[in-house]
Amino acid sequence: MKDGLVLILGATSAIAEATARLYAKDGASLALVGRDPSRLAAVAADLRARGAAQVETHEADLAARPAPARDLADWVAGRPAQAILLLYGTLGDQARAETDIDYAREVLAVNFVSAAEWCLVAAGLLEAQGSGALVVVGSVAGDRGRQSNYVYGAAKAGLGVLVQGLAHRLSLRRSGARAVLVKPGFVDTPMTDHLPKGGPLWSKPETVAEAVRAAASSGGPVRYAPGWWRLVMLAIRLAPASMFHRRPL
């Protein structure tokens, strides 16, 4: 379905905004969900100027909603949806998460528990509709546990398995709907501003946005962004622990 609604969960993230601009340029209708109403309004005005047919905003803290099924139905409001994009997450502070267990629970809850609930509800909606794509942002950090970010990585790995399972289910039942996990590598967004940047491993949010957009229209259940991360992560997964564990990755 090319003309339906695009619903973006976590619409003020840098990757979400870059993705929304691609849809806006093609004249799509968008529903944006995020926490900060003034930021949502700024994004919405920009998308209208860039060509979106219609943009509406919904203020919600996605990590803390008691009834996701009802919310999602309200936001879609019976309209055909071409894509539901889940594009939020928090990197968290790994060192703090190792000792502050309440904080670790929060990182896991935002990146996995809440995201998994939205995915289950969204997949149900698309399956019932018989079309459309659920695209979820994962991370290469979920491919192998590393000492520098394994709490975040574990949440993204869990989310990855969930989306993989949804993709299997939707495909097996020939529902017409799809689910895709997009795994970016290092992306130059505010979430990573505390890290040293530059060099060939870093991508712009616009590059990931292209991958999200492409994933929504075709392709397999896992898409790396950019695509060469698939090879890099294959090598990293295959590296023996005896070698891997000697490096502060």
Partner: protein
């Protein structure tokens, strides 16, 4: 952090706000941040050090690039200062609107275009970019926020346009675009064999052509001194509204510095003149190659090697333009330095709105010099003397070396400007030329 000329290159703290409230938090209350303070930075196309702030902080504005409103009925667009003219055109051209003024690259921000009060090939018709700004939002380090219009009686608007980012941080701006009937131009190239012919072509063309500019062979001497190719164009009634495609070609590495020497420059300039003279005549062209020829190659500044280059742009008043330009060219030819892209253009009489706006009625010459050390600086000092004697001035966006005296001599309203400067903001350029 490096400027486009890559001679000036300094370490500094960089903040990259994404939201207006983050920008306001950064700027407000920075009055006591030390002598170096802050400076807003756009896409880094200033050649010298006016966009750098070593020892202080930079605010990278690129993530603040949201359009607030665009009315395709009247061609008014309001956006964050970090919006690039490239994106602006992607949005506006399909609706039949174009920036009233564009500089030689489309990779500049709205804020940068205002802070440098940039000009284009249509200066004789449209004046500077600042003339088309209807309104702007300015954040000052004392915690105040202003919404300024051209009729502002305090003088802060006039100080901010062309004010090099020193009167506050421009948060957003509203500009009036100009109607176009397509993305194409009808252009014509004419060869001229001496400088007098350039001035004759200007006199003949400025009333009938919206855009005029000349490429000058800055290696030709003797009777060929000041020969070049004059280009003039009018918007075409074409009805194809395709914006410029993104460039795919980029210079991946620095070229070896010895590649551009007096021999290769002479060969290039001679060959270019011969080729263009043969191909002179009318052409139908998209706006991108006409207005932004260098944007076709990403990171073209690497042509000049690791040591970078200086750009030199001056304007001299009409009464002495002929003699002064001839003298400048003579000095450049004799030095054997110079570039493959030297540009000559006549500014019209339309007044620039800024206290420190560069464009003034007269003739402007712009060219690159590879940084060859002391001999390059000595040449530019000889050029400075000619410009000063002619009553001209240099363009801050291109400068990385002149002193306070040369700057003050070229900008008689500097004293007025200083009263509007925000003490929490500064730049390497400003610390060099401040009175």
């Amino acid at each position: 952090m490096t400027s486009w000329g890559r001679v000036a290159c300094e370490a500094q703290a960089v903040a990259r706000p994404r939201w207006p409230d983050e920008l306001a938090d950064l700027v407000h209350g920075k009055a006591a941040a030390g002598e170096a303070g802050l400076l807003a930075a756009g896409l880094g196309r200033s050649y010298g050090d006016s966009g750098l702030n070593p020892g202080g902080g930079l605010i990278a504005m690129g993530r603040l690039d949201r359009i607030h409103a665009f009315d395709p009925m009247i061609g008014v667009l309001r956006a964050d200062a970090g919006l690039s003219l490239d994106t602006l055109m992607q949005v506006a051209v399909p609706h039949g609107w174009f920036p009233a003024v564009v500089p030689g690259t489309r990779f500049v921000t709205l804020g940068g275009a205002i802070a440098n009060d940039v000009h284009g090939k249509n200066h004789h018709r449209a004046g500077t970019f600042g003339r088309h700004v209807r309104r702007l939002g300015l954040l000052r380090s004392d915690g105040t926020t202003y919404e300024l219009t051209p009729d502002d009686s305090s003088g802060l608007f006039a100080a901010t346009v062309g004010g090099l980012g020193l009167t506050g941080v421009i948060a957003w701006a509203e500009v009036q675009l100009t109607r176009v009937r397509g993305a194409y131009l009808d252009a014509e190239d004419l060869a001229f064999h001496r400088l007098d012919d350039f001035f004759a072509l200007v006199a003949e063309s400025d009333r009938t052509y919206a855009h005029t500019v000349a490429w000058i062979d800055c290696t030709a001497s003797g009777s060929a001194l000041g020969r070049g190719i004059f280009s003039r164009a009018n918007p075409a009634d074409d009805n194809r509204f395709t914006p410029a495609p993104r460039s795919k070609i980029s210079l991946p590495v620095d070229l070896p510095p010895g590649l551009l020497n007096s021999l290769t420059l002479r060969a290039f300039n001679g060959a270019y003149f011969a080729l263009k003279s043969q191909r002179r005549g009318a052409r139908h062209t998209h706006y991108a190659p006409f207005f932004f020829p260098l944007d076709a190659i990403g990171q073209w500044n690497r042509l000049y090697g690791r040591r970078g280059f200086y750009q030199y742009q001056c304007v001299v008043p009409p009464s002495v333009a002929r003699e002064a330009v001839a003298e400048l060219l003579l000095q450049i030819v004799r030095s054997g330095q110079g570039s493959f892209l030297a540009v000559l253009k006549t500014f019209g009489a339309l007044k620039s709105p800024g206290l420190l706006s560069f464009p003034a009625e007269g003739t402007t010459l712009a060219l690159d010099f590879r940084n060859a050390g002391a001999c390059t600086l000595a040449l530019m000092e000889r050029l400075d003397r000619i410009v000063a004697e002619a009553g001209g001035r240099l363009y801050p966006a291109k400068d990385g070396r002149i002193g306070a005296a040369m700057f003050a001599a070229g900008y008689p309203r500097l004293g007025e400007f200083v009263r509007h400067r925000d003490p929490g903001l500064s730049s390497a350029f400003w610390r060099r030329v401040a009175p």
